[in-house]
């Protein structure tokens, strides 16, 4: 009983700290952010952070895990559409919308560290990229039955790369994407579906 309450409090503290860290990291990047910045943002003492996280790096990993959970949840709908069009839209719209909701800045920081920090990169690869590619491949296999499986693996890479690239291009400040972000899923779905259907008709390679 007591323990449960303690647990609640501790969990709330962790969240509070992670939120502060997210905000600070997002505004200055990981390395330039200081523990003091984060403590101030959280309204607590610097030492308190170390009661909940081993070190500064653990804050980043904590944020990564948070984002990774949300991402996986978003792409694991109760009933995934079985038709190609629905599938493509789901896979395009989900991630693209996620970014419209204010996580953009944090996403920047995480991508930044994924690029350069082997530990974060390994997690990204193992906990996010690999399972999501596998899930996608499975879903598309059903919708594109005659597709060559080896080819499908590349196609999935293309689809995920497209999404990742679009997110980044927008994060980099492209005005066109910013203005017309809502059109993007529709336009790309159109483009991809035609391409995929043509290949499916060709049935080869």
């Amino acid at each position: 009983m007591k323990d449960a309450v303690q647990e609640q409090l501790a969990s709330a503290r962790r969240t509070q700290i992670l939120e502060a860290a997210a905000q600070v990291f997002a505004s200055k990047g990981f390395h330039p952010s200081t523990i003091r910045d984060i403590a101030r943002a959280a309204g607590i003492a610097e030492g308190t952070i170390y009661n909940y996280f081993d070190n500064k790096g653990a804050l980043l990993l904590g944020l990564f895990d948070l984002m990774s959970q949300r991402a996986r949840a978003a792409l694991t709908p109760a009933a995934p559409p079985a038709d190609l069009r629905g599938l493509v839209r789901l896979y395009l719209s989900g991630p693209l919308q996620a970014l419209s909701e204010g996580n953009a800045e944090l996403f920047r920081v995480i991508v930044s560290e994924v690029m350069v920090n082997p530990e974060v990169r390994a997690r990204f690869y193992a906990e996010l990229l690999t399972p999501m590619l596998a899930a996608g491949q499975e879903a598309f296999r059903l919708a594109l039955p005659t597709h060559d499986p080896a080819r499908l693996a590349l196609t999935m890479r293309a689809l995920s790369a497209l999404i990742l690239g679009l997110l980044l291009e927008r994060l980099m400040g492209d005005a066109t994407l910013e203005d017309r972000w809502d059109e993007v899923p529709e336009a790309l779905a159109e483009l991809l579906i035609h391409g995929l259907e043509a290949e499916e008709r060709g049935g080869k390679r």
Copy 2:
């Protein structure tokens, strides 16, 4: 005359320093690299670096400019192909090959900082993304005459995003992309061309 020689020497020094910086940044990332690391890699004294660059950040910008020049050169061929297929292949293969030649690690660092450092991001946008999108848009306008210009803008974003995303996914360590990197341009060209041709036939939107 004297000045010209001086200029030569100075330019050689700058290059020497940038190469050392590239190597060091690539191996440890920007922030963890120290001026001392770079000076040692270049075989010079720490102070000397400050005769050629204002500060540590300027080294990063210098490297960015170098990479940006090379990238623009690669995508500005003497005679760009006029047909869709040739065009798509050119735009896909160029960047994909560039990364196979050892700049991968440095590219990581630059992307990392583009994400998080406003100054680098601004340069990336102004000196690389915008001109390359514009050039691509012009080339494709000729090959897809009936395409809606507004739609073409999004298509170009998709194309460049696809490339960027593939590079990153490979950098993150995807084994499939690593193994089959050579197949990628062909496979994607196929996919995109069908999609684009279908849209072109449809001629609408």
Copy 3:
């Protein structure tokens, strides 16, 4: 009545805490040991320690007092031997044996702090060294009646210094002393008694 029980409990707690402190200090030294280490070793909360001791330093002083009591008890036998040989053996064997029983590591810590911490040093001088020298001097005065008292004072210093030095040399890891620790009292007694008797015969300075 209630008070007596309270007192018992409190005393038990103090002992429990001191024992934990002894163990922790012995294994890491005083400064590197943390209150948390000690609390864990004692199986209690950190704050509880402050209900029984003012601060970390008080733990050290508490341990010192404990050891000091035991040492004085060991050298205050009911009936001290009156002959020189018995006396020398008593004074040599007692301390040398004490260390064989596992207090060695703690003794190290205390000596270490005596060296460097004025408060501990003062206690060591007042509560241990001075009374023990005085007691020894008294005992030897009886066994060496013609000895010059002033000279005896120095002799007592030599005897106690010899013991202290041997303990430390052994603590420092001398293999010879470790192996032959049991022979030491006998050998030194022999050496000293001859020397003392010769002086006694000489009867002068």
Copy 4:
């Protein structure tokens, strides 16, 4: 040439820093002393210390090495006396005098850390205690030809322990030793020589 000057300067700096460290450590002990204290005492910036020593612990080891060199030098005279009396006096007076010259406080700190810090202890044992015991044993073997070698090993321990103990007792604040420090070597020589000669006469054991 240039290098030699550089070397001189660097060496002078090292000495300057070590002297400051000696002074600060001596007045507060090792742990309570801060790098800032030492930098101030040396009249330099904190960072400068790290240009010459890896970390705080290296300062202590540096001081230990200094003291260890001096100690060995003091006990390695050009022509060691061959008679017992001269020998005992040499071995007693040397160390006892060394302490009268102001290193007392530093010696305290080093002993303190020898007790508690395994790295320092190992050095003390290997670089000071062992070689000095060996040298002493060799010298005494010549002056006490009939002495049992195994017994001599213990005798040397006793002699060195006596010295160590006396130094420490004085450091701990014993007034008698402080006042009559000059008499000590003579008095102890007397005591020991009688004892040793008696054993030698006995020639047994």
